[in-house]
């Protein structure tokens, strides 16, 4: 029995007639980096808000460390650090005072405040008003706030929003180091597959409020069965000649796609085409990228 930090069963949130989150069964294990992937509006933030007890599910349940949320929220929130959606801040207070407010509620020392400022590289700007911060600095402040209570679970909703490339790199390294160095479990959401790919060990793909895939990122990649791409002089004639082969036109560039990577299939197809008088210019294997798999899963990229 694996140790589940986050577990939801049939978690659903309905607004009006629309299920924004629809029967979600999330499972985040201890010391995992769980990448919660979905396009904007897929239901990521609504799910995270339900996990934090900010909104109530219409049906289904959510548990953090085995405790039902929101019923036993008070028992577990000390062990959770969260950055929900856009970073929260008190504009009229300095960055340091913003952290002091949360530190007071968490019984955290001033030393820890300085530590987290250092971790997100805000020490130099700690005395400035948070309202004057750039979006990237606000984001760092939000991450610092999430880390303040030395939590066992960190929930970060789109943590790299508004950061410059160097900042994204830094935050990514920070997140990756959390399970290793501090035994922290991480639930990180993003609409960018590449980002999840570089951080997460496990992925949950959400679309239209439904979980389309959940498992190790390798399993998602394994779905990427490849094609053989063939370029010929007369594609129409080629398809007619190669009757019986799983051969289709690639609408994007006029090439042909063989839906198989078995060496024998490619060889027989080429023989058939050449025998039928079609000139074969190029034969190449093509792996689908994770991006294409994601688009296929979410049904947003039929052409891919």
């Amino acid at each position: 029995m694996k140790d589940l930090v986050v577990q939801t069963a049939g978690l659903t949130k309905r607004y009006g007639k629309r299920n924004v989150v629809n029967g979600l069964d999330l499972r985040v294990e201890r010391e995992q980096i769980y990448g919660f992937l979905g396009l904007n509006g897929a239901g990521k933030t609504t799910t995270i808000r339900m996990l934090m007890g900010l909104i109530r599910p219409t049906s289904g349940s959510a548990r953090l460390f085995g405790h039902p949320i929101p019923a036993e929220r008070m028992k577990v929130m000390r062990r959770v650090g969260a950055l929900v959606e856009s970073p929260s801040y008190y504009a009229h207070l300095s960055g340091r005072d913003n952290l002091r407010v949360v530190a007071t509620l968490l019984d955290v020392s001033a030393k820890r405040v300085s530590e987290v400022l250092e971790i997100v590289r805000l020490t130099a700007d700690a005395g400035r008003k948070a309202g004057d911060y750039s979006l990237g600095m606000k984001q760092r402040l939000g991450i610092a706030t999430a880390l303040l209570g030395s939590p066992e679970l960190v929930v970060l909703d789109e943590p790299t929003n508004g950061l410059d490339p160097a900042g994204i790199h830094e935050i990514r390294d920070l997140i990756r180091s959390m399970p290793r160095e501090h035994g922290i479990s991480v639930l990180v959401s993003s609409h960018l597959l590449a980002e999840i790919d570089q951080m997460a060990t496990t992925v949950g793909v959400i679309h239209g409020g439904r979980l389309l895939f959940q498992g190790p990122i390798e399993d998602l990649r394994a779905r990427s069965h490849g094609h053989v791409r063939i370029e010929v002089d007369r594609p129409e004639a080629a398809i007619a000649i190669a009757e019986g082969f799983p051969l289709t036109r690639d609408d994007s560039d006029g090439g042909l796609l063989l839906d198989s990577t078995l060496p024998g299939d490619a060889a027989r197809l080429v023989r058939t085409l050449v025998g039928g008088g079609v000139a074969v210019y190029r034969v190449e294997e093509r792996q689908r990228t994770l991006e294409e798999i994601f688009l296929e899963l979410t049904g947003e990229g039929a052409a891919a």
């Binding site: 609504t46 808000r49 934090m52 007890g53 900010l54 909104i55 109530r56 929220r73 008070m74 929130m77 000390r78 959770v80 969260a82 929900v84 959606e85 856009s86 970073p87 929260s88 801040y89 008190y90 504009a91 009229h92 207070l93 005072d97 002091r100 407010v101 949360v102 007071t104 509620l105 968490l106 019984d107 948070a130 309202g131 706030t145």
Partner: protein
């Protein structure tokens, strides 16, 4: 609860609150200051009656609304609710702490009002015989009378993101208070009329003889009842609310 209260005090925009506490009562008093009055106890009583009408009818209820909105503004503006309420703090404590601070600042406002009145009275030559017990009782009654509408305003402000909207609502309810206060039939039932009824010796209540024939008993039952309803309503709404904004 104490931690939540401390945090509320940390977040308060003190310079703005300080300005409101001093400037509001100051203006209320100075508008009615007349240097050519008689002196003595009666003159003090009359002057007190005059300044309290304007203050308790208009300024004090308005301030309750402004302060309630000001207390919720940091959370509305920077997405603070979702951060604050995802921490291990109970929602009811957050709400109660805001109310305690609101009531505390309203009490401080009344003290400032009393202080400024006495100083102005001395400066304009009302002389000896400051009626401290009348003033003290009146200030206390005013504070108690403002608590239900402070609870209503906190209810509204905690739910409405717009500072302007909750302020507009407040003005809409406050202005009719002067008419309601003159009616012995409706006055006691109108929350925004309670401060002036309770504070002004001209209007009745605890502060002096009742000229509107409003039974102090009714007044307090309405005030206490109104407070309980507004407080429970606001609290339950807040505890059950979805913070999705």
């Amino acid at each position: 609860m104490l931690k939540v209260l401390r945090v509320e005090l940390m977040k308060l925009q003190w310079w703005l609150v300080g300005l409101l506490i001093v400037a509001g009562p100051g203006v209320s008093v100075l508008l009615d200051a007349r240097p050519d009055q008689e002196t003595g106890v009666d003159a003090w009583q009359i002057a007190w009656g005059q300044v309290t009408v304007q203050y308790a009818w208009l300024f004090y209820p308005l301030l309750a609304g402004v302060l309630a909105a000001l207390l919720c503004r940091p959370e509305h503006m920077g997405g603070g609710w979702k951060q604050l309420l995802a921490l291990p703090v109970s929602r009811s404590n957050v709400y109660l702490a805001k109310y305690v601070v609101l009531a505390g600042v309203l009490a401080a406002t009344n003290l400032a009002f009393g202080g400024i009145f006495v100083l102005t009275g001395l400066a304009t030559g009302l002389g000896e015989g400051i009626p401290f017990s009348t003033i003290g009782l009146s200030l206390l009654a005013g504070l108690v009378a403002v608590l239900p509408l402070a609870a209503v305003q906190l209810w509204v402000s905690s739910r409405w993101k717009s500072f302007g909207a909750s302020l507009a609502l407040n003005v809409c309810f406050t202005l009719p208070a002067i008419f309601a206060a003159q009616s012995s039939e409706y006055g006691p039932w109108y929350p925004w009329a309670q401060p002036v009824l309770a504070m002004s010796p001209f209007a009745g209540g605890l502060g002096g003889d009742s000229v509107l024939n409003v039974s102090p008993m009714t007044l307090w039952v309405v005030i206490v009842g109104g407070f309980v309803v507004a407080m429970i309503g606001g609290l339950v709404t807040f505890v059950r609310a979805d913070f999705a904004g």
